[in-house]
Symmetry: C2
Subunit: 352 residues, 2 copies
């Protein structure tokens, strides 16, 4: 009944016979997500800013380069060990802006609340957002609140969008990786995803595994102070370290080699992964980053990271090579090599 | 279980005894919405940009003044006469940016899709967004896609945020109304809400009532060309003309007097309102604006509007007065006067 009639327009680019309906995996951060976003959405909205396939868009307003990013948060449960959907929604967008090389400044907040959400929970979430914004040094400047009928939502979903200012001289891009670059991870991986899954599965450990959700902008400024030549940064959220590395290998058309035993991972998180049958390389992080840095600067950047509380466990986990462009290969702990592929379905639904 | 413990923090500012849970009316654009947003969210996030209570925030990046706005769209049904959730989500944010005096430039799109949405519907929505962005002259530069389990969403929700650039010299604000200002509405009111409700209630009219959803940025540029002195602009969406005027009367601390018989309204829409028991002053619009203009410029602005397709039915419907500050009074068709109050509950759920 739309006035704009698309029935004679281009056919749906997703093979409808295979995927007549949207599946959970279309939102999981793996292959089906990439197909949906790449073939349908990005392809159709095509423009230079979107084509970068960054964590956000880099745009120009007047004389100023800005980063602009958005994420919707549909995490379940909304309160989890180490945080809640409120702070996650602020840190997530702060981190996406940071990964574009910008200094995050302004955040919007869009709430979609299911009728019946306890008012006290909403209040705790709002307080957490404010505390998170203060910690990250950003302002929540505009917002929107919608309520949907009971059974048509799930407690609360939050969308945040954000604007950051890119200092002149910074050029970060997913296609910027160069052979020889060292790959640094800022700390122990897979904490966020395992914190959520532990709650869902009712697992108990000696100490509670907490989400790592945290704002990375302070850490990144410390890294920039050590070297202005950061080639690529990415926060490995949905799809984890493996998906982020695959995206970068593809965008940069280079090969990536990582060393399993150099990847920092907490013993309890590793144990939980084994118990739950997850590969930690595919588990979401919410306060970690991957940085691609010229070899000559790697030690200086690493040293700068290690004196920051969010980078104390930072480690070099691999390097960029000219072999097998587009592919990520890992030297395993037992000495063999294996391809680390993009996640095909979805491993952990509604993890952020 | 959150690491940040708010149990000793300030008590929830909403009277929990009266409202232990979020109600549909908290999202309806009326009094409860204002209480929730004003007492809990805006009060807690408090900062100068948010305090403006504009359709968006006005912020400064480098030397450039920007408008930044967000809205989530939860409309039901997602396809309706005159449009679908896709174009609505683009036009809605374009219009909010325009109401801040800015030229809309960049849009973000965040999709929350319920598992099982037909892929073909998603494709039509994406096409509608692209067509809407082209019509409004904006680019969709960044986005996010999440999928939630069947029964935890409702087809699709879309959040858009947007950035507009404010040309120097423009100063628009909800508190800018001045006694003597003429109040102009850009066309026939209440179409969007009645188009949606007609579908929901299964009403049939001789001709289908279409949503008015449209981008207002072109019309507003024509208005600016006629007079740089536009004091207030607002698009009367949720809560309709009555709620928008009440917000402006309160922000500007002035009285507002409108004349019922001067308000343009389509005969079929009026009939549908009577049938459904709605007051058209409270029914949502998605392609109309209210402008407060100095009396000396009113005729020139009106003339400029009437040559634009989206302003052909524009009319002066009232004026700003010094009497009864904060209150809107209407001279009715039968010659009496009545207070036009803020909507108390919610009239039309999920209208945008």
């Amino acid at each position: 009944m739309s006035t704009a009639d698309f029935s004679n327009g281009p056919a749906c680019p997703i093979p409808i016979a295979n995927y007549p309906n949207v599946l959970m995996a279309h939102g999981g951060g793996g292959k089906l997500s990439h197909q949906l976003i790449g073939m349908m959405i990005a392809e159709h909205f095509d423009n230079p800013a979107l084509r970068q396939l960054h964590d956000g868009a880099v745009i120009t307003a007047g004389q100023t380069q800005l980063a602009f990013s958005t994420d919707s948060y549909v995490i379940s449960p909304i309160f989890f060990p180490g945080g809640n959907i409120g702070e996650l929604s602020v840190y997530g967008t702060v981190n996406d802006l940071t990964m574009c090389g910008s200094v995050p400044k302004f955040i919007s907040a869009g709430f979609i609340i299911e009728e019946g959400l306890p008012m006290e929970q909403l209040w705790r979430i709002v307080q957490a957002m404010k505390a998170a914004a203060d910690r990250a040094g950003v302002q929540i400047v505009t917002g929107d609140t919608k309520v949907v009928d009971r059974g048509k939502g799930d407690g609360i979903f939050i969308n945040t969008a954000g604007i950051g200012i890119i200092p002149s001289g910074r050029a970060i891009s997913p296609s910027g990786a160069q052979p020889g670059d060292r790959i640094i991870v800022s700390g122990e991986i897979a904490q966020h995803g395992i914190a959520i899954m532990s709650v869902r599965e009712g697992l108990e450990f000696e100490t509670t595994i907490l989400s790592d959700c945290a704002p990375l902008n302070g850490l990144v400024e410390a890294m920039y102070a050590a070297s202005p030549e950061l080639h690529v940064m990415r926060d490995p959220t949905r799809g984890g370290v493996a998906s982020a590395l695959n995206e970068i290998a593809e965008s940069s058309q280079c090969g990536i080699r990582i060393v399993e035993q150099d990847i920092p991972i907490n013993a309890e998180v590793r144990g939980a992964c084994e118990l739950l049958g997850f590969d930690p390389l595919y588990v979401a992080n919410e306060g970690k980053l991957l940085a691609f840095v010229p070899a000559k600067d790697a030690d200086a950047v690493l040293a700068a990271m290690r004196v920051h509380p969010l980078g104390k466990d930072a480690a070099i986990i691999g390097e960029v090579i000219t072999d097998h462009p587009g592919t990520v290969v890992m030297k395993t702990s037992i000495g063999s090599s294996r391809v680390v592929d993009m996640l095909s379905g979805e491993q952990l639904p509604r993890i952020c």
